[in-house]
Symmetry: C2
Subunit: 241 residues, 2 copies
């Protein structure tokens, strides 16, 4: 357990790791669609919306487009999908309301308890591709007790670019080896480990719904492997009160 001893900060992937984006997005879209009398398969819509997430960020990562925050990428993807599903005539206010569904995601049941335990001993932060304004509103609504908000926007680089991990460690006055990424995604952990971060894998087997195919197990011997944030707290020596 030597690798964990020098950890000063735990930083968390958010979508899927801290919050159940899929359940939350389906619930809000369905409520909106019912109120408007729209006949759309909102479960598929939610999956398609998330499906446009990586391609949209890749435009920025590749340099083909200049820096853009996730709210803007979400809004663009939403408009494409509304058109594809034949939904027309929504107001600017309604488009913004739907775009900001991503500000109103609910945490997994173990998340807050685990974070509160970890916060007593470590700096705890987001390390998300979500923008700062999104993440702080999500935190206030859900009661996520972050010490600060870090991520793609504070680094102006989307994960899994190494700059995202390195610049955010520097913002904390820490060496990469003093920071642990907590994530439900092996590829995020691999990118973090490659620049020196410590790693904790948290299994979230229903992030992508009942038929999830990936991230059903740790792909490597990460420093911590568990299935909840209370499990991370146990592994990192943060006792229950």
């Amino acid at each position: 357990m030597v690798a964990k001893e020098n950890v000063k900060a735990l930083v968390f992937d958010v979508f899927g790791t801290v919050v159940d984006w899929r359940g939350s997005v389906i619930r809000e879209l369905t409520a909106f669609g019912n109120a408007k009398g729209l006949g759309v398969d909102w479960t598929r819509f939610a999956d398609d919306w998330r499906g446009l997430y990586q391609p949209a960020m890749e435009e920025v990562r590749s340099g083909r487009r200049s820096w853009a925050i996730l709210d803007d990428l979400h809004r663009e993807s939403l408009k494409k999908l509304l058109e594809r599903n034949g939904v027309e005539g929504l107001s600017t206010h309604e488009i913004e309301h739907l775009t900001r569904i991503w500000h109103r995601l609910d945490p997994w049941p173990d998340a807050i308890e685990g974070l509160l335990r970890l916060k007593r001993r470590y700096i705890i932060s987001t390390l998300s591709n979500g923008n700062t304004g999104l993440l702080v509103r999500m935190a206030k609504r859900a009661g996520l007790p972050w010490d600060l908000i870090l991520g793609a926007e504070s680094a102006r680089a989307y994960k899994p670019m190494p700059e995202c991990y390195l610049r955010n460690a520097a913002l904390l006055n820490l060496e990469p080896q003093e920071v642990m990424l907590v994530a439900a995604h092996n590829d995020d952990l691999a990118a973090a480990a490659s620049v020196g971060y410590r790693t904790a894998f948290v299994l979230r087997p229903t992030e992508y719904g009942p038929d999830q195919k990936k991230d059903l197990a740790a792909s490597r011997d990460w420093d911590v492997v568990t299935d909840s944030f209370t499990g991370v707290a146990d592994a990192m020596g943060c006792p229950r009160r």
Copy 2:
């Protein structure tokens, strides 16, 4: 009170407004000096250290030197003053310990109570020339319940440059008119107001010690004028529990 109605976030100057930097720095320097048997006037040393703060930042603001965080400016100023006071032979560890006195400042007695009340209704953040790592460690030690950490480092521009206020409002997805700066310094409030921020002046008449000459009154009709953070909470409609 129309001006206050659309405020969504309150952002706080930190040194002097939230924390008593002078009392804290004198106390730590004196303890260090006594332990080392050093004969230095530490009150004057603290005032001289703070005196080098604006000139050091001005090198960055003017573009004469490239971006540097406040920890680095504090360390450089410290070394100058140690030499000037004939203190020699400190270890790298000791220099770092002293530099980080600025991470360990104590809040004014009303600060935490006022912040907790404001946090229930508004996003609350730092808006400080301190770097992110400094501010988050100060917050954890002192129990300052920020929702996030913003400031010169998140904008890569020191106050009172307009970029510092504008970029941090953008990080919050807010218009400047939706952000209120809380500060004990009229010049900080003037710069914020000039880009559209709302303003709250909090009198801190002993920030610079018993002979303080400036900021002993509001120089303009700021949106809020008070002498404590609980006074800000009262003015912003945040009740006691």
